[in-house]
Amino acid sequence: MHFAVLTVVAVFITCGVYLLLDRTLLRVIIGLGLLSNGVNLALLASGGLGAGAAPILGHGSAAIVDPLPQALILTAIVIGFGVTALMLTLAFASYQSQLSDDLEDLHGRLDDE
């Protein structure tokens, strides 16, 4: 069980990093999304995984899993949601002002020394 989850984490993070290295803004954003999903899964695994158990007491099932990682993930997802929305807005705004979503084109438009 742990091995399967960790494999998924590894795949998510690998794909995320690959996309992150792309020069297209949109792919960078998707890459960060994948990366943070992989991290959230890792966080889930940190509390121990119980097959078929819910993080809720007193609803008939005797098996429960640690609810704390779930609270942490919820927080991380909310933050990730906000950051992704912000990144999309930024990418959109910079596309509108520069008519390109390629970081290479955007680079060095303003002369730096």
Binding site: I56, H59, L74, V78, G82, A85, L88, T89, F92, Q96
Partner: protein, 138 residues
């Protein structure tokens, strides 16, 4: 936006259901899966569906108005968290009690629900603001 009769009809039916579902989720939230956050997201989806069908229309002022909603929600949540400090309890301490209502019987009233209401309002305001910002044509 394209006028699609099928989408418009489907949305007209699903929107009330979504709003009701949000209410159910919110009330369930105290002891079971649900709560202000997810209820807020469901409500925001209902708003998004409306946006898909009707477009922005002439509601140019959508963004700041919903930011005021965010402010109201934050304020409510903050006040709920601050209230116990007036009585000398630590910040965020919650309290609850039971009252008897006609028809419903004994109902639990918890101060955490007020906080959750604040969360709900913040989420709705926030998500709708984001949707407006991302869909409006500048």
């Amino acid at each position: 936006m394209n006028d699609s009769l099928i989408l418009a009809t489907a949305v007209r039916i699903t929107r009330p259901v979504l709003f009701l579902f949000a209410v159910v989720l919110f009330l369930k939230g105290h002891n079971a899966p649900g709560g202000g956050f997810i209820a807020g997201l469901v409500t925001a989806v209902a708003v998004l569906l409306g946006l898909l069908v009707h477009g922005h229309g002439n509601r140019k002022t959508g963004r700041p108005t919903f930011l005021y909603v965010v402010a109201a929600g934050l304020g409510l949540a903050l006040l709920t968290a601050l209230a116990p400090t007036l009585l000398g309890w630590p910040f965020f301490t919650h309290s609850f009690g039971f009252i008897d209502l006609p028809l419903l019987g004994s109902v639990e009233l918890a101060s955490a629900a007020l906080f959750d209401l604040g969360v709900y309002v913040v989420v709705v305001g926030n998500v709708v603001t984001v949707l407006y910002a991302l869909t409006e044509r500048r």
